[in-house]
Amino acid sequence: MSRPRVKFEQVGTFAVGNRLLDPDQRTVQADRARSNTLTSGHRACQGCGEALGARYVLDAAMRASRGRLIAANATGCLEVFSTPYPESSWQLPWVHSLFGNAPAVATGIAAALRAKGRDDWRVIGQGGDGGTVDIGFGALSGMFERNDDVLFVCYDNEGYMNTGVQRSGATPPAARTATTQAVGDHPGNPFGQGKSAPLIAMAHEIPYVATATVADLHDLEDKVERAMEIRGARYLHVLVTCPLGWGSASRDTIRIARLAQQSGLFPVFEAERGDVTSVARIRRPVPVEEYLRPQRRFAHLFAPTLRSDVIADIQARADRNIARFGLLDDPEERA
């Protein structure tokens, strides 16, 4: 990746962060000729992290493939809000089949293109955490194992949001959902083993795995661009804030995603063939409490009593991520 690390976080067409950059370093979103693959008119909630992430991912992928991209989408929020019959927000060939089969449908499309000799047409599969980490997991693993030429993107909002905020395999410990309610002695989601799809993807040793958040959209675009340079199975796991499901203010979508990364709870990194190749260092580590407080799905940790024990457990997980991925800057530079 040749693009220098950009510290400005604004990315819009007229934002200072773009105006000061050379045109070729600006985001795809800065380009008025961008594909607008997920165009306006869709029915996402105000502040939807998934809509934001998908727009960036698809436009970047469309640029990288010169507009020759086919998308397979799992059932979920993105699918539902983008295609309210008889309208569609999609400006690329797009197919929605089922909840659990998006990776397999993408595999099928890639196979068809290969059989027809269409080497320059690329395939992207996408879905939420439910469709990727739970019900679609078998198909995802199969796609990885065969190294099918598919970029699969998981927009992780940590729950089955489309159906009313139920718990998924990606729901973090202690989070309140409709099926892990904030009642009883252990309110919220139990502290389970977790299921790190990016680590599992790395265990398949596929050519490229990366995580990203909607807090650093340059980075997100870069990773899509990097992924599109590669052939074979690629996996991108994007943390996308869900204001409704997380109980956060719609204006805080990007800020909360940044807190997730800066606390260490959501490590941002890249890996190739099972080995980590880069990490997004945390400039100033943030205590997990700062991340948890703005989200009503964690409100029961603060009231009626402060659950320091639970928060400490969550902090321990963040610390483990920081240690495991080496997320802090050089110790000398640490504030």
Binding site: L98, A104, A112, A115
Partner: protein
Amino acid sequence: MLRQIEGSRAVAEAVALCRPEVIAAYPISPQTHIVEALSALVKDGTLAPCEYINVESEFSAMSVCIGASAAGARTYTATASQGLLFMVEAVYNASGLGLPIVMTVANRAIGSPINIWNDHSDAMSQRDSGWIQLYAESNQEALDLHLQAFRLAEEVSLPVMVCMDGFVLTHAVERVDVPSQDEVDGFLPAFAPRQVLDPDDPMTIGAMVGPEAFTEVRYLMHAKQMLALDAIPRIADAFAQAFGRDSGGLVRGYRLADADTVIVGLGSVLGTIEDVVDDLREQGHRAGALAVRCFRPWPLDEVRAALGTARRVVVVEKAFAVGAGGIVGQNVRLALDGVAAAPRVHDVIAGLGGRPITSASLHRIVADALEGRAGRTTFLDLDTGVVERELRRSREDPRPGPHAENILREAGIAGGGPR
């Protein structure tokens, strides 16, 4: 060219001749030899260009087919029994999307209890899925039906299931006439998809449809199956012209013209049924047989025409609707609804889980029907003693244990003797 080969091999070669571009394969008895043969044909370059995908489940197999077909590729897979059930969500998705996928179902019983032998419960469970269902009586017909299936599917934009009896046909070595590539190319043109994922002409496929439009969209599936009632005989005729054989179509009669007793069946059991008909004729009975070759769409008019003037109809079927009775029988009664002096219809549920349907047993049930002893529903060769004892056990013992194991013990198949 005439060859003496296994049914599975004949089907694999037929499918290869149809030039599929994507094959999704997941093994399940008794379909394995089909996907194995196809894997070799792709790997050694005989079938090219074709992508053969070894998938990790049947659900993925059908899903890969959906993606490939939506991207404009001629697509194929095969399954049976449990595998068909595992992919059911995708089976409905494929027909709902109108994708012309062809799938072989090597008919096998559905568990529990697990059973690997032939009956029709698998395909019958999907009779309402929107897939066209064709049943082969012989390996030659199985081969022929795959050629017709691709053409039919692509013409009406519906997926087609070609059913062939597992083991009985798949694993039987018989003489078949395998056509040449030129002959097949002449019969089956290249796939011209009606809808396709194309960056040059982007479209959205698979949107949610609400109450205001769902009925119309689903009705179209029914309408297309009704159109298939015309397309199927037309394609069978074209096939006969091209290959000189009678295969496919909606129904086929045997000695029906003046028959007052007709035995109806699907698939390979027709051979035995015809032997029985010949015996009955020799005995002076006016017997005939009706082979249902296309079960969905249900060829109501043809069945009515074939059976309307008979006095009694014996429907032999290898599946049943639990709690209700026969399935094919129900459909036959539907066809005879409103016919004046309609024949009595007897459902005979036979061959479940691979139990052989013998001429002797069929003779017995036909004799019962002729003498007015047969009821509406008969389970052929049912060991009523075993069943009654198990039912009594269930009534009298608070913990009788699992039925299957008790029955196996009674039958001396499992050890320990009856409890």
